[in-house]
Structure formats: structure tokens, C-alpha cells
Symmetry: C2
Subunit: 206 residues, 2 copies
DNA sequence: CTCTATTATCACCGATGAGTGACATACGCA
DNA sequence: TGCGTATGTCACTCATCGGTGATAATAGAG
């Protein structure tokens, strides 16, 4: 439980934001409210209104923290060197995203909430992540040629969609669409399937 | 707004269930509660407790209504005759499921809620749908050989996951992962991409 | 017709929600 | 040193929540 130092607005704001992130990651948006947040942050709820103008402002602030989420999570993949072909590029993207999403309950909750209660505000958060994603692809792609005979953007969308739904299912139920996903071996099976899918549709240079 | 006839328990129960389905399809689980449901069903909330022992009982009753959802939605596809190969089988499954899911806000809401607030109860609803799905595949597959060189169950899971995430995104935001999905042409683009994905991974007999 | 059991309604409880106005405290500037 | 303002606290309103006990109304059995 984050605790605010006294008489320090910046610290209090951080305490509120940190508490909010922790609560969301733990319980989701379910019982997320001003009262609970104030309790968790160890301050009076009045301050939430004063400093953030309510819960929405807190969400926006979290959005600021997460603005570069995709970029930051995928950056290490650039160090692997240039991908040999488009298939390898998308494979890296998919597996990197899978891992990043899998270990980040906060982003999982945000995505899940976006599914069940769409709002312009949550959509903005998601849009920022998407933007970082395509920027990464552009940067990592370099001068690699894009497949012209198939609709790569739509196919990539399908692949990313698949990853998000699988992670969300597994996080909640321990399995996804009949495939158990409780430990690293089981996840490795799913990774292999995704790789097979990507290699099949984008071909592989040998 | 469903309205109960007076002094007719069966009719009242139906009115409650119908109102619940309508509310969930319209607003999701967000403000779904005993008070709101009673108001919408045009009866006193006490009856919800008497006849269903609370909200959970109502959900279970809806589950009963939806027990054969997959089976019923996919059945027409059996009339198309035997698929020529495994790819065609999965293609029919995917496109059939996409369409069924796309036009059914109630099932969409249930799925979305399962993502953001996993519970054994919701999981049971989803499990029933899954079961119907694999039963359909077994029935439709007949004596068609299954691909042995790849992990078809995991790949199929990924494909179905993809479809659900795409539909949920599109329902909320009008687009999914950068691909606009507001009209039938745009959906046709996504269908083509899914077909390409399935054909690529499962090959096609020619 | 009378009585009983089912059906439906009403009035209430305690808890909790968001939101706000008034008040206390302490920091830093003049 | 004293004062103003930023910071923090408290107490309250009003609405809604899930849940329950008592009571009214009516249909059907005898």
C-alpha cells in the first residue's frame, strides 16, 4: 500500500497513482472507486478530486505512465539484429508482445475493461499502445520488403488479437479455448503454434 | 421492456430472464443488479430472490438458454456438405463463429465480462459453448484426416481467440488493432485475412 | 362460499457509492 | 514574526446497493 508523505503534493499524487495501478492490477476495475482508492493511497478522497478532478483524471495519469509501454517492452528485441525476413519480424513482435502482456496484469486489466466497457478514455490508452506497436514495426522492419500478395496489416491484427485473447483467457482461467496454459511448457506449446501460424502465412526463407 | 403477466409464475420467470438478457446485451454487466433488473422486468425484486435465489440464479438460467449456442449457430454449416479438407472445415468453423458472435451482443458481453471478472459461474457458461464447438468439429470432421505435422488444437485455439478479440474490439470501437470494421466490406477484408491464415497453416488440396 | 397457499407488493435495514463544503494545519514568503 | 495559501482532514448529503420481514391480493381446492 503506497503511502503519501505529508505536505508534499507531488509525493501524494504519486502515491495516488501508484495505489491506483496496484489496485487495478490486483482487482481490476471491478471495485475501483474514489473511496477505495483513497483508502489504499492513505490519503483523503478529497485530494483525488483536488489533484485529478476525479477518477477519470487518475486514469489519464496512468495513461501517461503507460504511453510508451509498447515501445519500452519491445525495444530489447531490436538488439537481436535485423530479422532475416518479414516472418521473423512478425514472429519477434508476436512473441515479444505475448511475453510483455503476459507478465503485466495492469495492462491486462485495462484491455479486459476496454472489452467489457468501451469508453473513449480507455480507447485512448489502447490507441497509444497500438501506435507504439506500429512504430516499432516500422523501425524494426527497416528496408525489409513487405509481402504484397497478402493483406499483412489485417493478418497482423488477427495475430495480435489472438495473443491478447489467449493471455486474458489464461490469466483468468488457466487455459485458453481448451489449451491449458499454467506453466512454461504449456506456454511454449502455444508459442510454437503461433510461430507455425506466422511462418505458414508469411513463408520462410531457408 | 418485458412485462410479467400477473399471477403467473412461469410468465414472471420468463419476464425476468428476458429482461436480464436484454439488459446484459444492451449495457453489459456494468450496472446489472437486482434493483435494476426488477425495474426492467416490471416486477418486485423480491421475486428474483424467490424464484432464482438472487442474481446468480438468473445468470444460471440464462446459461440454460445458451447451453446449445454453439451447436445451434453452427448447425446450418453442416448442410453445406462434407468439407473437402481440414482447412475448409476450420474455415467454415471460423467464419461461422465470427458471424454468430458478431450478431450476438449478449454472448459478446458474457465473453467480455469473463475476461475482466473471471468467475467459476461465467466460466461454466463459456465451457458449455466450447464443448458445443468441439462437438461440432468432431461431427463435421467425419473421417477427414487431421494434420499430424502441426498442433492443430493449439492453432485452432489461436484462431478462435483471434476471432473473439476482433469481434469484441470492433463492437466497442469500430475497429480492431488498426483495421476498421464498421461495414460489411471492411468485415469481408478481415474474413479474407482469416481465410488466408487458415489456408496457409492447413494447406489446401487442389 | 370459505379457507389456504401461492403470488406479488411494500417498507424498511445497514452498507457503500460519489461528491462537496467547512475546517484544521503547517509551510514558506514577506 | 506574522500572514496567506497550499495541503490535508472531517463530516455530511443524497443516491443506490443487496437483502429481508411483514403484509396485501388473488386463484384454486374443498
Amino acid at each position: 500500500m503506497a503511502q503519501a508523505r505529508n505536505r508534499d503534493r507531488a509525493a501524494t499524487e504519486r502515491a495516488i497513482i501508484d495505489a491506483a495501478k496496484e489496485m487495478l492490477a490486483r482487482d481490476g476495475f471491478q471495485n475501483f472507486g474514489v473511496n477505495a482508492l483513497a483508502r489504499e493511497a492513505g490519503c483523503d478522497k478529497q485530494l483525488i478530486y483536488r489533484y485529478f478532478e476525479g477518477l477519470d483524471g487518475v486514469i489519464d495519469a496512468i495513461g501517461g505512465d503507460l504511453a510508451n509501454w509498447s515501445r519500452d517492452r519491445l525495444r530489447p528485441l531490436l538488439a537481436l539484429g535485423r530479422p532475416a525476413d518479414y516472418a521473423e519480424l512478425i514472429e519477434r513482435l508476436a512473441l515479444g508482445l505475448l511475453q510483455a502482456f503476459r507478465v503485466d496484469p495492469l495492462v491486462q486489466r485495462i484491455k479486459a475493461w476496454e472489452f467489457s466497457a468501451p469508453s473513449p478514455q480507455l480507447a485512448r490508452l489502447s490507441a497509444a499502445r497500438s501506435r507504439g506497436l506500429v512504430e516499432w514495426v516500422i523501425e524494426a522492419r527497416g528496408d525489409l520488403e513487405m509481402p504484397s500478395d497478402i493483406d499483412a496489416p489485417a493478418i497482423n491484427a488477427a495475430i495480435i488479437a489472438s495473443i491478447e485473447a489467449i493471455v486474458l483467457s489464461a490469466a483468468g482461467a488457466g487455459h485458453a479455448y481448451g489449451i491449458p496454459l499454467r506453466n512454461e511448457e504449456e506456454w511454449e506449446r502455444m508459442r510454437r503454434a503461433l510461430k507455425a501460424l506466422i511462418r505458414a502465412v508469411y513463408g520462410q526463407r531457408r
